[in-house]
Amino acid sequence: MDAIILQILNGLDKGSAYALIALGLTLIFGTLGVVNFAHGALFMIGAFCAVTLQRLLGSSRTIVDETQKDFLGNPLKVEVPYVHDWFGPEMGASIIAWSVPLAILFAIPIMMFVGFAMERGLIKHFYKRPHADQILVTFGLAIVLQEVIKAFYGANPIPTPAPPALTGAFDFGAMIGFDPNTIIYPYWRLIYFAFAAFVITAVFAFLQFTTFGMVVRAGMADRETVGILGIDIDKRFTMMFAIAAVVAGLAGVMYTPINSPNYHMGMDFLVLSFVVVVVGGMGSLPGAVLAGFLLGILESFASMAAVIDLIPGINQIIIYLVAIVILLTRPRGLMGRRGVMED
């Protein structure tokens, strides 16, 4: 029992990342009808926002400290980050330590801008072209973005730790009445899950309870009629693209302490996220979220030693296997609507 709960918990953080990326993909697909292969790159750009902020906050000037001497007797050179000058050493140190959560604020405007630029600059011109062209041009864009990041940040993963206060783990099992030390769970993964849940809820609430969201939903259902009613639906869909970019970016920012960001993390997640979207059903937002968590948890179950002993290699292929079975038995995925992407 405790092993099962542990696997569910382990699946949650990966599932959250899948769900967030798949949610953004579905938003873009549902509103603009574009299959965005560059969405994984947005996830990666988000992660590198965190890296950038960490480096910006860490930028420092060198001063010569006369009171300390190195082993040759010369005055020691000390690096002092600018934030220490501005906020005092203690406050400055904690600002640097908390760079990943702070990067959320930093990433939102950047991702907004990236989303706007992508939609207005490139994707706008592809609405009338076939789906295959959209896939190809966004695939090309994904390669370009990832190579640009590689050119600036190098090919190696860059460690971006969580704030020290949140790096530990806690004994979840003991809290809910199991033996101590059976279910140890890192704080940050729990935070990631809570954050993902918050973002997902916020997106749904935005679509459900605001006038803007209502118009967008109407546009998703029947774009032409909304246009005829005198609403500039294109502008709102561009907004939605930017929001989807922000969602992917935030997923990336918060994922950095779990997995050090590298330039191909976007592509790694993209392939799986597409499987998630298709399993959930193209164009269905709840389907994307549900399938994201489902596949994340299934994946972690399949990596249990007992399961691997039973069916060797299952942990590697479970997601694809589930995708194949679902696509063949439920052609529209778990919650897909009729008539979406069926031509």
Binding site: V35, L122, H125, R129, H131, A132, D133, I135, L136, V137, F139, G140, L141, I143, V144, E147, V148, K150, A151, A155, M267, V271, F274, V275, V278, M282, P312, G313, Q316, I317, Y320, L321, A323, I324, L327, L328, P331, M341, E342, D343
Partner: protein, 401 residues
């Protein structure tokens, strides 16, 4: 001739001449000159040109004719490679049986995957093929290690003694064609030029010409017309009482066999294989090649494959020192500035160049390099227009909407 009309025969002839004279054509710069690094006439790269050409031709039969975008084609290449290397390890070091085995296994695997995947179309088909390919990759990497050699892959070792090849004890077998080794080359010195004629390249080139011929025949056949009908309007095709499944499945299996052939040839050339050959980036690469060259055209995929492999090998060799040599005639400041600007696009950054070129092609030239060639030919007036039409395959046979 050969069952082709005049234009197609001319095209085949041109390709044949280019392929046979490739060691000359690809080595235009004398040895030791500053431009020698642009020479592509060394065996390793020429072999890759033709092998990936075959792979792309096969992919084009599926994607170019039926419009089904497979994102898992590398799996068939990988399966073909494994089949070929086992044939060489166990039975004979002659490459012909190995290549035949590769074709058979590539086709069989494509039959299985196609039978399941072709139940869906559009992006669902792409995801299904991707899923199958990723599963094959993951399994080859982990559980199937006894068959695939896992992460290290398979090579021909001293302990292998194929039953039909008489190897001395401890001798490492080398791939051959009735005694002619794949690696053997004939070198020709003409003045400052050095031309390499490699046995392996010519064998691969002959296979490429046969594949190219078969693909022309498929494009021009009633079967090819049926595949185009699937692409242009599958629903209408079904309403006229035709079942499209057997046609698409046949196209899928044929293109799987092409991929298997490419995999078998790869093994014949370097006698090794690893699971990364099946990774989805490899599948993505063949998509890039086909699009870059021109989807649905005969010659496009070969051009695209050649261009990507050329960029991969040549651009990645350029480094900052070479750039400094090129711009040495400029004032220092401008020289450094130019080198800094170009630096991200060369060497390890060649993927960036590839991505940008690819995006430009998709945005401005949906027909790929072939369309670009036609436009350029168009600018030069009527005289050259006839040439352009020789490469244009769709013009006469495009079904009316």
């Amino acid at each position: 001739m050969l069952g082709l009309n005049k234009k197609d025969f001319q095209l085949l002839l041109i390709v044949a001449v280019l392929a046979l004279l490739a060691p000359f054509i690809l080595n235009p710069f004398p040895e030791g000159s500053g431009l020698a690094q642009f020479n592509a006439g060394y065996p390793d790269l020429m072999q890759r040109f033709v092998i990936f050409g075959i792979f792309a031709i096969g992919f084009n039969i599926l994607f170019g004719l039926t419009g089904y975008l497979s994102f898992g084609h590398a799996a068939f290449l990988g399966v073909g490679s494994y089949a070929a290397i086992w044939m060489m390890k166990l039975v004979t070091l002659n490459v012909i049986p190995a290549i035949l085995m590769a074709i058979v296994f590539g086709g069989l695997f494509a039959l299985i995957v196609g039978f399941v995947s072709l139940r869906r179309s559009g992006i669902y088909f792409s995801i299904l093929t991707l899923a199958f390919a990723q599963m094959s990759y993951a399994l080859a990497y982990s559980v199937l290690t006894p068959i695939t050699g896992g992460e290290t892959g398979l090579q021909i070792k001293a302990t292998d003694s194929p039953i039909l090849s008489n190897l001395a004890d401890g001798e490492i077998g080398r791939a051959n064609l009735f005694g002619m080794e794949m690696g053997s080359s004939y070198l020709m010195n003409v003045g400052n030029w050095l031309f390499t004629f490699n046995a392996g390249y010519y064998i691969a080139a002959i296979f490429m010409l046969i594949s190219f011929y078969v693909s022309i025949r498929i494009f021009r056949s009633p079967f090819g017309m049926m595949l185009r009908a699937v692409k242009s309007n599958q629903q209408r095709m079904n309403y006229t009482g035709l079942n499209s499944r057997p046609y698409t499945l046949a196209a899928f299996v044929i293109s799987g066999m092409y991929a298997g052939l490419a995999g078998g040839l790869m093994v014949a050339m370097d006698t090794q294989v690893g699971p990364e050959r099946m990774f989805w980036t490899a599948s993505g690469e063949v998509v890039l090649m086909t699009i870059l060259g021109g989807v649905g055209t005969l010659i496009g995929p070969v051009l695209g494959a050649g261009m990507i492999k050329y960029m991969e090998n040549i651009i990645s060799k350029i480094n900052d020192n070479i750039l400094h040599q090129w711009f040495a005639f400029m004032p220092d400041g401008i020289e450094d500035f130019l080198v800094t600007i170009i630096h991200p696009f060369i060497g390890k950054g060649w993927h960036l160049t590839l991505g940008i070129v690819f995006m430009l092609v998709v945005i401005f030239l949906p027909g790929g390099l072939v369309e670009g060639g036609q436009r350029i030919a168009g600018w030069f007036g009527k005289g050259k227009k006839a040439d352009a039409e020789a490469t244009d395959t769709d013009a006469g046979t495009k079904p009316a909407e």
